[in-house]
């Protein structure tokens, strides 16, 4: 079902797109860096003047990394899916021998790769406006890479699921924005989930969004380590498996509901 041949050309195309529209990519990065700067300033001021118990430095490193994660995930395949459905062009993607789900996943992966291309050279600037550090231990660093990869996989599957809803509703602009807002919030982008009020943290724990940001970064910082870190990764694997099954099941039903507009 997953066709390897489709990934490389689509990802290459998206990366080239990010390079060609580099003004756009740079502006996105500038916005992300402003966000990192501001979130750092707010938490620093809160720590200075308020009744803050937690140490400041790990928190600043957390929000800086979280801001970079948000930049990594800022490109979404969903407007593309919406445009294709508007024009009825998604039928061509469905008819291709490489699976529809693979193609959408490849587009999303390509957007992530395109963002990464601009994030890496911007790391010194991120260091300037925020706080960065090396992983807690070499093991933390390796587990971070594993955890982040799984988190990205979860994010891609969630995007695919939201995109598939277009087969029913034809209009997913509102759902796209809603997904973006909720996923960013519950990923712990502006504040680690450990600082959420109890009831909110409990809700966040039940949702898969923390896999992209909170889980990998707490592994990186060594806030969860050893057995705790391994369990976090296993938890992500379980979500990945569940979402893969859900995507396949939804796709089976979606194929019966193809509506091609235009002509």
């Amino acid at each position: 079902m997953i066709s390897r041949g489709v990934y490389r050309p689509i990802i290459a195309c998206r990366v080239r797109e990010a390079l060609v529209f580099r003004a756009n990519s740079i502006m996105l990065g500038a916005g992300a860096l402003v966000q990192i700067f501001l979130v750092n300033a707010v938490w620093t001021a809160a720590h200075r003047s308020g009744t803050f118990e937690q140490p400041l430095e790990p928190l600043l490193i957390y929000v800086t990394l979280a801001g970079l994660h948000a930049w990594l995930l800022s490109g979404s395949v969903l407007p593309y899916v919406q445009r294709q459905v508007n024009r009825g062009a998604h039928i061509f993607e469905i008819l291709r021998p490489s699976g529809y789900l693979s193609q959408i996943a490849a587009h999303q992966l390509g957007l992530i790769a395109g963002a990464l291309l601009f994030i890496v050279p911007a790391l010194p600037i991120a260091l300037l406006v925020g706080s960065l550090s090396l992983p807690h231990t070499v093991m933390s660093g390796l587990l971070y890479v594993v955890s982040l990869t799984l988190g990205l996989g979860i994010h891609i599957l969630l995007c695919v699921l939201v995109g598939l809803s277009a087969f029913w509703t034809l209009q997913i602009d509102g759902l796209t924005l809603l997904y973006r807002i909720i996923s960013q919030f519950f990923a712990g982008t502006f504040a680690p989930l450990s600082l959420f009020p109890g009831w909110l943290a409990a809700i966040a724990d039940l949702l898969p969004f923390q896999a992209t940001t909170y889980v990998p970064i707490t592994v990186y910082l060594g806030e969860v380590s050893g057995a705790g870190a391994l369990w976090a990764v296993v938890h992500q694997l379980l979500w990945l498996a569940a979402l893969t099954l859900a995507a396949i099941a939804v796709w089976r039903r979606a194929q019966r509901r193809v509506v091609v507009q235009g002509g």
């Binding site: 756009n24 402003v34 600082l195």
Partner: protein, 265 residues
């Protein structure tokens, strides 16, 4: 006078057109509420963990945040479809505005009315409604007038900057990422007391002039003049600056429009 009357008739027609899609209006308003609620929840979580920021307590931050959100929603109420200008210029739909006997800007302004600002307005009212009885402000007629002038001036500042940036489309054909960048700066930095930033950043924020949109009026109303790094009279300048920026935006639009090159049909 006749232009104003015609513009108002067109605007009412645009509003009526939007209200035909009631479900869309409700869902866009709800989406606006959720969006603003999530943005505010960052502030709420910071205050939940800290209690005070830059000497401002939660209720005072709510007051500042609500004031800024009110100015912001008033500025986007007539202009939330500004993002469509990009495609209109690129696909030469702007031609028809040049052929009619009315200012192209007014025609564009009254062509559509997106109700998404209604959600922002609602959230602003809720936050301000929470803050008003809990802050230490004497709501005398003078203070209320000053705050209203501040909100009006703030709305004019934000609207002017958005229009000026959007008018670059006549030259660059794509302003989306730059507009989002400007929007990000305003949305993120305008909600906090200036004192949490370093001196250089403070000067920058005063210059752009996001600090005039809500921070200065809030500082004066709350009696926090002691923390000002500028002379006191500067904090009263929101409305004059708003009017000045509106003038500059109008001039920018007029001068940029001359660069329009129709792509034809």
């Amino acid at each position: 006078m006749r232009t104003a009357r015609t513009a108002w008739i067109l605007e009412r027609a645009a509003i009526r057109a939007q209200m035909q899609y009631k479900a869309n209006f409700i869902s866009m308003t709800l989406l606006g509420i959720i969006y603003q609620a999530s943005a505010f929840s960052f502030v709420a979580i910071v205050m939940y963990n800290s209690g005070v920021i830059g000497g401002w307590v939660f209720e005072e931050i709510c007051f500042l945040y609500g004031l800024r959100l009110l100015a912001h929603s008033l500025s986007i109420l007539p202009l939330s479809h500004l993002w469509t200008l990009d495609s209109m210029v690129r696909e030469a739909e702007f031609d028809r505005y040049l052929l009619r006997p009315m200012s192209p800007f007014l025609q564009f302004l009254t062509s559509k009315f997106q109700m998404s600002a209604a959600g922002d307005l609602l959230v602003a009212s809720i936050i301000l409604g929470y803050a008003f009885p809990r802050v230490d402000i004497d709501f005398s007629p003078a203070t209320v007038t000053f705050l209203m002038a501040g909100v009006a001036g703030g709305a004019l500042v934000e609207a002017s900057i958005q229009v000026a940036v959007a008018s670059l489309v006549f030259r660059t054909l794509n302003t989306m990422s730059f507009r989002i960048f400007v929007d990000t700066i305003f949305n993120l930095t305008g909600n906090y007391p200036l004192t949490i930033f370093s001196g250089f950043v403070q000067s920058f924020l005063i210059a752009i002039p996001i600090s005039f949109v809500a921070y200065f009026p809030a500082v004066v109303a709350l009696g926090k003049e002691g923390e000002l790094n500028v002379p006191l009279w500067v904090a009263f300048l929101t409305l004059p600056i708003g009017l000045l920026f509106s003038l500059c935006a109008a001039m920018t639009w007029k001068s940029q429009m001359r660069h329009y090159q129709s792509a034809g049909h």
